[in-house]
Structure formats: structure tokens, C-alpha cells
């Protein structure tokens, strides 16, 4: 998917190869209830990896672990060769590991512009660049720039949320339920953007309930059930497997 040279939406080229993500024997619990029972996963560098599964399978919990929002009780997560250990999410974000959480990953009581301003945490990013890139991709956000983000429509809020992935130029991007509660046309538009981001050279893990939507942009996929990886393989292999697992 990636040859190691990446191009940003503004045309700037970098030579940083995105890292792979390895999950080895990860266990995690909510209180006394274990929800991840030894998850093993290899996400190749620069690929789009779709994590599928029914409700309650543990997909979002796994994403929380990957983005440093939840501690493991066993196992480890490596980004490249570096274990993330107990690194807090803010440090991971500064290292270029970006997560767009389930729901709307925005601050509802800040304006669109103020949301974008908060995301200029990585060095070398100016507010001017951020605004240019965001408004070029999502022109509607320019019209809404002085509006409180929480007052926008669900689709617009999700556009704002994903624009963080545009402007912060992460090396690894985790997307959780991007399509939740959105109209099919907007979902298609957002997934088109995911494809664009992937082509720029980014390791992407996306959690999704809608199998066909996710597999259309994925290079690899896995199906989670009851806190375990049930199967993993190519998108075509997973499309068949998902049907039987979802209907089981």
C-alpha cells in the first residue's frame, strides 16, 4: 500500500515510513470483568486494517488499549518496535498516534476553529495550514468555523472529528465506528477520505460494524467475537467469514 514516501494533502512529501502495530496476548478488564482475553494481531505498516465484529465483541475496548486510554492486564502493544507500555494517550498523540473515538470526537462547547486550534499540538503545524487543509477537504466547515461544534449536524461533527487525522499528520490512525448514526452518502464520503489518507502513508486501524463499508477500503481484516480474534485474513476471506459469524 505504501512505498515509504508519503504525500500530504497539500502536496508536501515526507519519507517517514509509517510503523506497524503489533498486539501480543493483550488482556484487559473493566473492574473484575475481563473483556479482552488474549488478543493477538499484526497490522502491517502503511496498511488499512478493518476490525469487525458484532456489538460487545471488544473492538472499541481494543482500540482504547491501542490508543493508551485503557491499561492492559497482560500482553503488550508495539508501535513499530516500541512497546507503548503505560504511555498516556496525550504522549501517544504527540508521537503521531491519533485516535478518533466512537461518537463524535469533538469538543461541543468550542467553535470549529477552536477545535482545530487545539489540534495543532504536533510541531511544525501552523493554524493557517490546519485551516487550509480542513476547509479544502470539508468546505462546509469553513462556513461553520465560528459555530459551536456541538450545534452542527452529526455528519459535520464527524467531518470535524476526522479532520484531526488530516491536520495532525499522524503515523498511526485509529478510527472507531466512523459511520455511526450517519447517512449512507456521508459515510461513503468519509470512507473515501480514509482511502485518501491511507494512500498518503498511514497505518490505519478502523473499527466498524458495517462489513462491506469497511472491507471496501481495507487491506487486511479481522473478526472479533467475545473478546477474541476469531479470524483474520484478506478482505475477501473476511467477507465470507463475517457472514457466518454474524449470523451464528
Amino acid at each position: 500500500m505504501s512505498d515509504g514516501s508519503t504525500t500530504s494533502t497539500t502536496g508536501a512529501t515526507t519519507s517517514t515510513l509509517p510503523p506497524s502495530v503489533s498486539v501480543r496476548g493483550v488482556r484487559a478488564s473493566y473492574g473484575r470483568i475481563e473483556v479482552l482475553h488474549g488478543v493477538d494481531l499484526e497490522v502491517p505498516a502503511g496498511s488499512v486494517f478493518a476490525l469487525l465484529g458484532p456489538n460487545g465483541a471488544g473492538k472499541s475496548t481494543l482500540l482504547k488499549v491501542l490508543s493508551g486510554r485503557m491499561r492492559t492486564t497482560a500482553g503488550e502493544v508495539l508501535v513499530g518496535d516500541v512497546p507503548i507500555g503505560k504511555t498516556p494517550s496525550e504522549k501517544l498523540a504527540r508521537q503521531g498516534i491519533c485516535a478518533v473515538p466512537e461518537g463524535r470526537g469533538i469538543f461541543p462547547n468550542l467553535t470549529v476553529r477552536e477545535n482545530l486550534r487545539i489540534w495543532t499540538y504536533r510541531g511544525g503545524i501552523t493554524m493557517k495550514d490546519v485551516e487550509e487543509q480542513t476547509y479544502a477537504t470539508f468546505p462546509v466547515l469553513k462556513e461553520r468555523r465560528r459555530q459551536l461544534a456541538g450545534t452542527m449536524s452529526g455528519g459535520e461533527q464527524q467531518m470535524l472529528a476526522i479532520s484531526r487525522a488530516l491536520v495532525t499528520r499522524p503515523r498511526v490512525l485509529y478510527l472507531d465506528e466512523l459511520s455511526m448514526g450517519l447517512a449512507p452518502l456521508i459515510v461513503a464520503e468519509l470512507y473515501e477520505l480514509v482511502g485518501t489518507l491511507a494512500r498518503q502513508g498511514m497505518t490505519i486501524v478502523l473499527v466498524e460494524q458495517f462489513v462491506t463499508t469497511a472491507l471496501a477500503v481495507a487491506d487486511h481484516a479481522a473478526i472479533m467475537v467475545h473478546g477474541r480474534i476469531e479470524q483474520q485474513g484478506t478482505p475477501s476471506e473476511m467477507a465470507d467469514a463475517a457472514l457466518s459469524i454474524y449470523l451464528a
Partner: protein, 647 residues
């Protein structure tokens, strides 16, 4: 005209002082979602600290300001955030309210120990001198306060709306986790917020201290910035310019009322008005602002509700309790502790336990935070002393009924308020009643209001033993009532209102009626307790039902368990014992207790490790939780609130 201008300048100065405190509240609330009830107490400590440095140790003013405002306030703010508040993430919405109230009583308790209230301390203005403008004399200190307030408002507005740190400070309360994912440490932002809030509180305390011409007083300084609370509420706890303008308006209104209205009132009402005015402003601000404008930053948390004892279980337990009470009454009839009979103290425990039961019903079951149960108790005691010459059963009935009516009147405009705002409204009511009504010499009389023991036809209840047993009977009856209410349809409705008001409304039930009804029942119960308290003590005074003892008692109930009968009883026992042993430190005990209990919603009695199994209590079917468990501290089955999810 010159008088008017003079009052105006003083009002603006007063308002500017309130504005600094209010903006501190807004900063803390915006960045942490916590309304810091200890804001006034922090200002008070800062004022006393400043006096200690400048007046007692002759430290130069500038050095004292650096020590108090920059070093002291920032270290304390950072400490409070790190040690007290950070671990409350995910706790129920009322818990931060309780912890900041705990901090308030700790600080006032410490101040009482460090600075004897009997000594007069006057703080000199930082800049002395005055000048004349359009025929009025203006003190330079006033100009300093106004200038500092304007600088603070402009500075904070610029910080919040033009800097990335400011955006992060505003964003942290919306979604701290997302802020973390945005590369900014949410904990650090919250800490900055608390530091700023403490600095504002200290600044307002230090600036307003010299305006206290009769000297700084612990309670007065702690409550001085309450008008700032009203301003912060008008600014919806987020809008600094509106908060600032509201504070100035309140300062002006307060000064005009005091100078133009008060002199025309009867002499005995003048002091009452002065004291009660800030709380009246706060109450008005809360009940008149549209509810949609009051943004609540509460968190719904799922908690295990304690098991409610069944009807037969309650009857047996009540009977056992009464047998124990009879044994105690006759065994310790002649025992005295520090000049008070043990049975009188026992009677106080039981009457306070009834107040605790009212809190179980109101806060424990329906989730409404009330800080004014002692006010109803005081009103009940007053009615008891006035009806039929005191000592009449009719007095008890009147105390209960009138307090229930007053409770309903208070509840009606406040039902739409939740958690923090209701706590603030009841806080305002409690202090307004304490300072404007109870402290009036004409209410309880200079030496206190004498109340006789209850006399029933053909039955003498004049002895301490008879009185103790009478109060024990009332306690058991109230406990039965509370548990019966909880088991009833109305009780399930209370729990439902607490769990999800929205879901409650969607099934066609009237939230307002339910809330007013439970508030009225709880107020009536507190009024009954007040009537009984008066007959136990036989004399009640102006300070018996002050705001601070009321808050301390609520804290003790929360510490033990605000959801159980046994929690109410143990809280009353703790309160009376500590009040006898260390009366000046009782606030410190309560404050430390609530801090230690932290986010444990069930209080001490909710800690499973302390539960013991009673062999004769059957385990209910259909639950995996250990039931039939009794806390090690509850001696009767009235306290058999093991742990089971509420039905």
C-alpha cells in the same frame, strides 16, 4: 447626590471584590466541572494568612502578597486538585459538592484553631490614602480593587478565548479523554484551573479584608463571597463578562438596599437584612434563571443500592431497638457526661438521627442534595416552643406540618434544579434563615427559647428517661416510615427520578410533584426532629441551627451512608460524640472523613469488606450479590441493608 455617588463607588468596589471571587469559581467550574464551595473559605484563609504576615510578623506587603497569592494559593490549588479532586473522576455528581463542602469546614475549623475568634484582627489597606472626585471621597484601596477586578476579567477572557491553553482549559470538562487524545494532558489542565481558582479566591479575600472595618471574622469572611456565587450563577458558570457585570450589579444593589431601604426598616430587622441579603440574591438568581441556561456537569454513575429491609424484618428490628432503648434508659438513668445526662445526649442522637432519615429519603433515595435540613429543624424547634406554650403534642404536629409546608414552598421553585444548583439553593436558604431569622434576638430570645417536656393526659414525660424513650419511639416510627416509603410505589418512583429523570418523564409521570412531595416529607420529618430536639434540650438558642453544623451533619451522614437507616443513626451518634469531645474540631473530622471516603457512593456502610452475614436473614433469590449482609457497625436489623441492586 453626593451620598448616592459615594454609595455607588462603594457598591462598585464591593462588586469588584465579588467579581474576582466569582471569576475564580467560573474558572474552576469551567476546567473541572466542580463548583468549589470552599472558595470563600480559601479567601478567608488567605485574608488571615495575609494579616498574620503583614500585621503580626511585619513582612512587607509585596512579599506577603507573593507568599499568599502566588506561592500559597497555587500550591494549595494544585494539592487539592491532585489529592482530593482527581480521584473523584467518575464519582456521582453530588460527591464533588460534598468534598468541597468538606474542604470548607476543614478550612474554617483550622482557622478557628489557628486564629482565636475572640481576638479582633484588622487588616490595613495595601494602599492608604484617599482623593476627592466630583465631591466624593474615594479611597485608593477601592480603586485598587476595581482595577484588579477589571484586569482579572480581561486577562481571563483573553486566556480562555485567544490561547490554545485557554481552549484546552475550556475543553477539558467537555471530554478529558478526547483532550488527552489531542495531545494535551487533561490532568494538567484541571490542575491549572484549580490553581487559578484558588488564586482568584485568595485575591478576593486579601482585597476585601481591609473593607471589614470591624475586623476579619472567620464565618463572615467565608460567607462574604456568597454574592460572588450569585454572580457566577447569573454568568451560567462559564461567561466571565456576564459574571463580572452581575457581580458589580449585585454589589451596587446590596449597597443601595443597605443604605436606602434598611434604615426605614424596624431596628430588629436591619441586622437580619444585612446578613441575609447575599443569600437572598443567590436564591433569587437560582430560581429565576431559566433552567436551560444552567449547564450541569454531572456524571451518571451506576451504583449498588443497599437492600431495603422487608416489612416484617423492619418490625422485628424496630422492636429490638426499642427493647435496647428501654435497657439503656434504665441502666444509665443517672449517668452524666460533662454535666449533661447520658439520656439527654441519647435523645439528641435520636433526634438528629431523624434528621438523618430525612436525608436518606431526600438525598439517598431521590438524589436531591439538601443543605437546609437543620433550618427546618430550627423552624420546628421554634414552632414547638411557641405553640400551646411549648411541650405540647400539638406543637409537634404543628412543627411537622408547617415545616412540610415550608419545604413544599422551597421545593416548588427549585424542583427544576438538580445536584449542584439545588445544593446551592438550599445552602442559600439555610444561611438566609440562620442569619436573618435564627440570629434575631426576638426569635429565640436573648437567653434562648425555653421549651418544656411533652405532657400527655395522664402520662408524665418530664424525666430524661421518659423523654429518651419517647424520642426512641419517634425514631423507630420514622425509620419504619422511611423504609415503608422506599418499599412502596412512591419509593420506586423516587429511585426512578434519581436514576433517570428523562426516562421518568417519558412514561408520563410528574417529576415536579414527586420531587416536591419528597422534599415536603423530608422537611416535615426534620421539623418533627426539631420539635423533639427542643423538648430534649428544653432550651434552644440562636446558634443551634447554624449553617455550618447543618453542613457538617450532612457530611457525616454521607460518610456513613446516606442511603441507609443505620447510616443516619451512626452519623447522629458520631456528630453528638465528637461535638461533646472536640467541638471546635468537629468540622475537621467531617471534612477529613468525606475526603477519605472519596468516591465510595455507599459510604462506610457500603464497603463490602465491612459486611458481616446475619445467619437469620435469608438471601433473596435472583441476585448474585451477597444479601443478608449487615455492616459490622449496624447493631439491628433496621440496619440490614446488605448489598443488592435496587428493584
Amino acid at each position: 447626590m453626593s451620598n448616592f455617588l459615594q454609595f455607588t463607588v462603594f457598591g462598585i468596589m464591593l462588586g469588584a471584590g465579588y467579581a474576582i471571587a466569582a471569576t475564580g469559581l467560573v474558572v474552576t467550574y469551567t476546567t473541572s466541572g466542580v463548583f468549589n464551595f470552599a472558595q470563600g473559605a480559601v479567601g478567608m484563609i488567605a485574608a488571615f494568612g495575609y494579616w498574620e504576615l503583614v500585621s503580626a510578623h511585619h513582612v512587607p506587603v509585596l512579599a506577603a502578597l507573593v507568599i499568599v497569592l502566588i506561592l500559597g494559593a497555587s500550591i494549595c490549588g494544585a494539592f487539592v486538585e491532585r489529592v482530593l479532586m482527581r480521584r473523584l473522576h467518575g464519582a456521582s455528581a453530588e460527591r464533588p459538592v460534598m468534598v468541597t463542602l468538606g474542604l470548607m469546614v476543614i478550612l474554617t475549623g483550622m482557622a478557628t484553631i489557628l486564629w482565636s475568634p475572640t481576638t479582633q484582627r484588622t487588616v490595613e489597606p495595601m494602599i492608604t490614602g484617599q482623593f476627592s472626585l466630583v465631591g466624593i471621597n474615594i479611597q485608593v484601596q477601592y480603586v485598587l480593587i476595581i482595577a484588579v477586578a477589571i484586569a482579572v476579567a480581561i486577562g481571563l477572557r483573553a486566556l480562555f478565548y485567544t490561547t490554545r491553553t485557554g481552549y484546552a482549559l475550556r475543553a477539558v470538562v467537555d471530554d478529558p479523554e478526547l483532550l488527552g487524545m489531542s495531545g494535551v494532558s487533561p490532568n494538567r489542565m484541571s490542575q491549572y484551573g484549580w490553581i487559578l481558582g484558588f488564586m482568584m479566591a485568595a485575591l478576593s479575600g486579601v482585597l476585601l479584608a481591609p473593607t471589614q472595618t470591624t475586623g476579619i471574622n472567620i464565618e463572615a469572611m467565608t460567607l462574604l463571597v456568597v454574592s460572588g456565587y450569585a454572580a457566577a450563577i447569573v454568568g451560567r458558570l462559564k461567561n466571565i463578562p456576564v459574571t463580572f457585570a452581575a457581580a458589580i450589579a449585585i454589589g451596587l444593589a446590596e449597597n443601595y438596599v443597605l443604605n436606602y431601604v434598611e434604615p426605614h426598616l424596624p431596628a430588629n430587622l436591619q441586622t437580619d437584612m444585612t446578613s441575609a441579603l447575599p443569600m437572598v440574591f443567590l436564591f433569587i438568581a437560582l430560581v429565576t434563571l431559566p433552567s436551560v441556561r444552567l449547564r450541569a456537569v454531572g456524571r451518571l454513575t451506576s451504583m449498588k443500592a443497599p437492600r431495603v429491609a422487608g416489612g416484617r424484618e423492619s418490625l422485628v428490628a424496630g422492636a429490638v431497638f426499642l427493647v435496647v432503648a428501654v435497657v439503656v434508659a434504665f441502666a444509665f438513668a443517672d449517668t452524666n457526661i460533662k454535666g449533661t445526662t447520658l439520656l439527654t445526649l441519647g435523645g439528641m442522637v435520636l433526634t438528629l438521627a431523624i434528621v438523618g432519615l430525612s436525608l436518606v429519603l431526600l438525598t439517598g433515595y431521590s438524589g436531591q442534595v439538601s443543605l437546609c435540613q437543620f433550618s427546618f429543624m430550627g423552624i420546628g424547634a421554634f414552632i414547638m416552643g411557641k405553640v400551646a406554650g411549648g411541650g405540647s403534642l400539638l406543637g409537634l404536629i404543628a412543627a411537622t406540618a408547617i415545616c412540610a409546608g415550608v419545604g413544599a414552598l422551597i421545593a416548588w421553585p427549585t424542583v427544576r434544579l438538580s445536584d449542584l444548583y439545588l445544593a446551592l439553593a438550599t445552602f442559600a436558604f439555610a444561611d438566609a434563615v440562620a442569619t436573618g431569622f435564627f440570629s434575631d434576638g426576638h426569635i429565640y430570645g436573648a437567653g434562648g427559647l425555653m421549651v418544656g417536656r411533652i405532657v400527655l393526659p395522664g402520662l408524665s414525660l418530664g424525666s430524661d428517661t421518659a423523654e429518651f424513650l419517647l424520642v426512641a419511639v419517634f425514631f423507630v416510627l420514622c425509620a419504619w416510615l422511611v423504609l415503608a416509603i422506599r418499599r412502596s410505589l412512591f419509593g420506586r418512583r423516587l429511585v426512578a427520578v434519581n436514576d433517570s429523570p428523562a426516562a421518568y418523564a417519558t412514561v408520563g409521570l410528574d417529576i415536579g410533584f414527586t420531587k416536591v412531595a419528597v422534599f415536603a416529607i423530608a422537611a416535615g420529618m426534620a421539623g418533627l426532629a426539631g420539635g423533639l430536639y427542643a423538648t430534649v434540650q428544653q432550651i434552644v438558642g440562636t446558634t443551634d441551627f447554624d449553617i455550618f453544623p447543618g453542613i457538617i451533619f450532612v457530611l457525616f451522614v454521607t460518610i456513613w451512608s446516606i442511603r441507609t437507616v443505620s447510616g443516619a443513626f451512626l452519623a447522629a451518634l458520631t456528630y453528638v460524640v465528637l461535638n461533646q469531645l472536640w467541638p471546635s474540631s468537629i468540622g475537621i473530622f467531617a471534612g477529613i472523613g468525606i475526603i477519605l471516603i472519596g468516591r465510595a457512593a455507599g459510604g462506610i456502610l457500603g464497603i463490602e469488606a465491612l459486611h458481616v452475614r446475619l445467619p437469620w436473614v435469608k438471601a433473596p433469590s435472583g441476585t448474585s450479590d451477597p444479601s443478608g449482609h449487615l455492616t459490622a457497625f449496624g447493631g439491628t436489623a433496621l440496619a440490614t441493608e446488605g448489598s443488592r441492586a435496587a428493584g
